[in-house]
């Protein structure tokens, strides 16, 4: 990786200013994902020491600073409580602990990585991203946006929900990108189903939610139909790791198992 200059920002305003001085300037999260992609950076602007490394739990929300590491996140009691632990689970199979003590949630989300386990699970929750200087956007809308991010992600805000979640990373070991990521969340009989690493980026299946949310009783047949809707409306592809056909089988199986697991008894 080439870095011309390293600058420790004295304030978020200064960081924002420097970021936009040159298209090859970048924000440093943990630098973990940055190293994987090995870009050529002009000025690397570090936000360390500006207070973006806190997790603050309020009555209704969990506010996570962008520089919180993945391990800090997965061990946090409020995060562990979300959906019965499915968010923490989606953090636990990202390489090893030595990596997760460096990689940050900000760097992970800003990267919009298709293979990201944590983005897949967060998509099923009410998650708002806060950017400096002045932007708030849902996680889903941010993922749909394109082009270089010219403002700075500072906080991730999760609405606390007393629901039940399910997460599955299909892979043989923790050291691979998932063949498929599946997350399901149910609260008040409303369902969110998201699939990632398809190999495409994580997506919510609104069609499946629309169908499932209308149902009075969640029967085997309803679950089967829901899974089929996901297959019919979401794109799955081939890559070296798996074929489209096998991915669809995985999607169907785990969407079904996920719904079963989170459905109210």
């Amino acid at each position: 990786m080439e870095i011309n200059q390293y600058h420790k920002a004295k304030s978020i305003e200064e960081a924002y200013q420097i970021l936009n001085e040159n298209p090859k300037n970048s924000i440093l999260g943990g630098g973990a994902w940055l190293k994987q992609s090995s870009p050529s950076v002009n000025t690397l602007v570090d936000l360390v020491g500006l207070g973006f490394d806190q997790i603050i739990e309020t009555k209704d929300t969990i506010e996570i600073g962008a520089l919180v590491t993945l391990h800090e996140l997965e061990s946090n009691p409020a995060i562990k409580a979300l959906g019965g632990g499915f968010v923490s689970e989606s953090l636990s199979e990202i390489l090893g602990i030595g990596f997760r003590n460096i990689a940050t949630i900000g760097g992970t989300i800003a990267g919009r990585y298709a293979f990201s386990d944590i983005i897949t699970s967060l998509l099923t929750l009410n998650v708002k991203l806060v950017f400096f200087p002045k932007r708030e956007i849902s996680l889903e809308n941010f993922l749909n946006s394109k082009g270089k991010v010219t403002d700075i992600l500072t906080h991730i805000i999760i609405q606390k929900s007393p629901g039940k979640g399910f997460f599955k990373k299909v892979s043989v070991t923790a050291l691979e990108f998932a063949i498929l990521n599946i997350a399901v969340f149910q609260q008040g009989n409303k369902y969110q189903i998201s699939l990632g690493s398809r190999p495409g980026a994580p997506l919510l299946s609104h069609e499946a939610s629309a169908f499932l949310d209308k149902q009075v009783k969640i029967t085997e047949d309803i679950i089967e139909q829901t899974a089929q809707i996901v297959l019919d409306t979401m794109k799955f592809g081939n890559n070296k790791a798996a074929s489209e056909d096998y991915r669809k089988t995985l999607a169907k199986t785990y969407v079904k198992r996920g719904i079963k697991e989170v459905a109210s008894k």
Binding site: N4, Y6, G31, Q36, L95, G96, I97, N101, I102, A174
Partner: protein, 150 residues
């Protein structure tokens, strides 16, 4: 650029370049106990402790170590000797290349999780790859060590 951090109990100052990682800085300064296995964040042999937490030194920019406490096995001799005893008992030390990184991770595990389950132990050390042992003897050694340190 200059970076200042506490290395194994001593305050040190190093001259590093912007894109230099802690692994290189340490090995260039004669800390050969930290190994380079892949330089791509995937094998774990370069693990060091930053403020007691295991981090991949190949993935931590040296400038990011500024103000922190970095520990290698050279700064934890007594504790690592103890861990090595259990590895020796189980025949879990073969080529040894993964051992220094592994020892630091085990030490951090002991401090971070009280009474870890088998799964919690494995989740914690999964990023420390080993190609020689098949992990079984290592796991038994780690469990024996954690038993004794309860």
């Amino acid at each position: 650029m200059k970076v200042k951090f506490n290395l194994n109990g001593r305050n040190r100052e190093f001259d590093v370049s912007e894109n230099e990682y802690l692994l290189e800085t340490l090995r260039n300064n004669h800390i050969t106990s930290v190994k380079n296995g892949c330089n791509e964040s995937t094998c774990g042999v370069c693990t060091v402790l930053m403020d007691g937490k295991p981090v991949l030194s190949c993935t931590l920019l040296s400038l990011r170590a500024d103000g922190h406490k970095i520990t290698t096995v050279d700064g934890l001799q007594k504790e690592v000797e103890e861990i090595s005893h259990f590895f020796g008992e189980e025949g879990a030390d073969q080529c040894g290349f993964c051992n220094t990184g592994m020892a630091l991770t085990i030490y951090a595990l002991k401090n971070e999780i009280e009474n870890p389950t088998d799964d919690e132990i494995k989740d914690y050390i999964v990023g420390n790859l080993c190609r020689c042992t098949g992990y079984h003897a290592q796991f038994k050694a780690i469990k024996s060590y954690l038993e004794v340190k309860k």
